[in-house]
């Protein structure tokens, strides 16, 4: 999948809430519980299904957190792969209908 075409959306099957800037996420299917750090929380909150991941990384991560763009992109892709494996994020090379509100 070409990395500039990755779209991500939050699954409607999850529960999520920010606690002091960090997101708590629980997948009801298996009660897996995660907490996301500030950077991961920013990606999660921007996962509207319409904005490409590369754009999220550029506009939300590199600008706010002063990180190397290539490293940030690699970390974001790893994070997305991990959370999609747990059913928390939906991933596609086409824009997705956002399942859950921000």
């Amino acid at each position: 999948m070409p990395e500039n075409c990755i779209y991500i959306a939050r699954s409607s099957a999850i529960a999520a809430r920010a606690l002091a800037g960090e997101m708590m996420v629980m997948n009801s299917a298996d009660s897996t519980f995660f907490t996301l750090n500030e950077v991961a929380t920013a990606i999660f909150q921007a996962a509207d299904g319409r904005t490409p991941l590369r754009e999220i990384v550029r506009d939300r991560i590199c600008e706010q957190f002063d990180v190397d763009p290539e490293q940030a992109q690699a970390d974001a892709e790893q994070f997305v792969t991990e959370l999609s494996g747990h059913g928390v994020l939906l991933v596609s090379n086409q824009p997705l209908a956002s399942e859950a509100p921000r």
């Binding site: 529960a15 999520a16 920010a18 002091a20 708590m24 519980f33």
Partner: protein, 372 residues
């Protein structure tokens, strides 16, 4: 410490209400002999009011939301309320007797990605369960509904309230839960009625029977540790707090009243009159609850059980003082470990006085009058 415990501690330290229990109605299709509720409708919140409260709870940082009652499905708008809650991304748990859950309801619950459905079963024997609920065929109907829920792959917990009239049936209920693929929890707590009537406390199992429960490995995990004599309290223990009630947890009644806990009937405000966060942040009653550390407890601060007791400040409040002992928990601590509590020693008792007939007048939950 597990990740979940860490998050709970963080919310506690920050004063974030991470978990809320909301009763959407006190109406019920069963009439359980031990129930503490008045089942008449004294003016429940409307659908719009509840949705507005849910919006406020999400804004306040609430993550874990339990819907209970009464019987939640007595509200025709219950699914609409749950759908709204899930849109707001709460982790939702439902407590129900399940009698009104059929295949269609089970399917909708699954589609809403509900975390857990907790269902009360009092006995595996219909004649005992139905005599407690006073609803004919209720066990049969509840078990059938659990099968529908399990067929949808949903997590079900069977809650077994233990009292005098079903005290010999817990193993049967546990076996039934295993057959149904449900989790099982046992609770020997019987709470005084909302109107202050303590007659239901006569259903509490006698303290002398508690050791059989506490020392039963089929009912209590890590039993050796659970029943071990208490360790001398450290300075840190004395700086500690009783529980999350009012710190990171609260209860909202069907009438919008906010309390520190479902078992702690101290009125702190009403969401029909104030914003939830104003109540949470500014209520003098909640501030008082939050200020009480173990060292401030009138009797318990000198008790050897202070660091390990399940002391419920709500039950203590109902006995007369939120800083005082909760006799039911003194009883549990004694029968769990065999070590007398400070509350017993000051009264010169060699065993706890019975909590099944507390005659003291109790503070009552009363809906706060709302101007028309």
């Amino acid at each position: 410490m597990s990740l979940m415990s860490e998050v709970g501690q963080k919310a506690f330290n920050l004063g974030i209400p991470i978990a809320v229990h909301m009763d959407v109605t006190y109406r019920c299709n069963e009439r359980c002999v031990h129930c503490y509720l008045d089942h008449d409708d004294h003016g429940e919140m409307t659908t719009a009011e509840i949705k507005d409260v849910l919006d406020q709870l999400a804004e306040a940082g609430v993550f874990f939301l339990t819907f209970s009652g009464g019987e939640v499905f007595m509200r025709r708008d219950f699914f609409e309320i749950v759908e709204h809650a899930r849109r707001l991304m709460f982790n939702v748990k439902i407590k129900t007797n399940a009698v009104m859950i059929h295949e269609e309801e089970a399917r909708r619950i699954r589609e809403l990605d509900i975390d857990t459905i907790q269902i009360s079963i009092y006995s595996h024997r219909p004649e005992v369960h139905d005599a407690i609920t006073k609803l004919p065929h209720s066990l049969e109907r509840t078990v059938r509904s659990i099968r529908f829920l399990r067929e949808q792959g949903l997590r079900v917990t069977i809650a077994n309230v233990m009292m005098t009239v079903n005290s010999s049936d817990h193993m049967g209920v546990q076996k039934l839960a295993a057959e149904l693929g449900a989790h099982y929890t046992l609770d020997p707590t019987i709470t005084p009625m909302m109107d202050g009537d303590t007659s239901v406390l006569s259903l509490r199992i006698p303290g002398e029977e508690l050791p059989d429960i506490f020392h039963n490995p089929a009912l209590v995990a890590n039993q050796e540790e659970f029943c071990a004599p208490p360790k001398p309290p450290s300075e840190e223990d004395l700086e500690g707090y009783s529980c999350s009630a009012g710190h990171s947890f609260c209860y909202i009644s069907p009438y919008g009243d906010v309390f520190p806990c479902v078992q702690f009937p101290l009125p702190t405000g009403n969401v029909r009159q104030q914003k939830f966060l104003d109540i949470w942040n500014l209520s003098p009653q909640l501030k008082e609850v939050r200020s009480i550390q173990a060292k401030d407890l009138t009797v318990c601060s000198s008790c050897s059980h202070v660091s390990s007791c399940s002391r419920c400040p709500g039950l203590a409040y109902m006995e007369g003082s939120m800083r005082g002992p909760s006799t039911a928990d003194c009883e549990k601590s004694f029968y769990r470990t065999g070590v007398p509590t400070a509350n017993m020693l000051r009264q010169g008792l060699s065993k706890p006085r019975s909590t099944s007939g507390l005659g003291a007048p109790l503070i009552q939950i009363q809906p706060i009058a709302v101007p028309a």
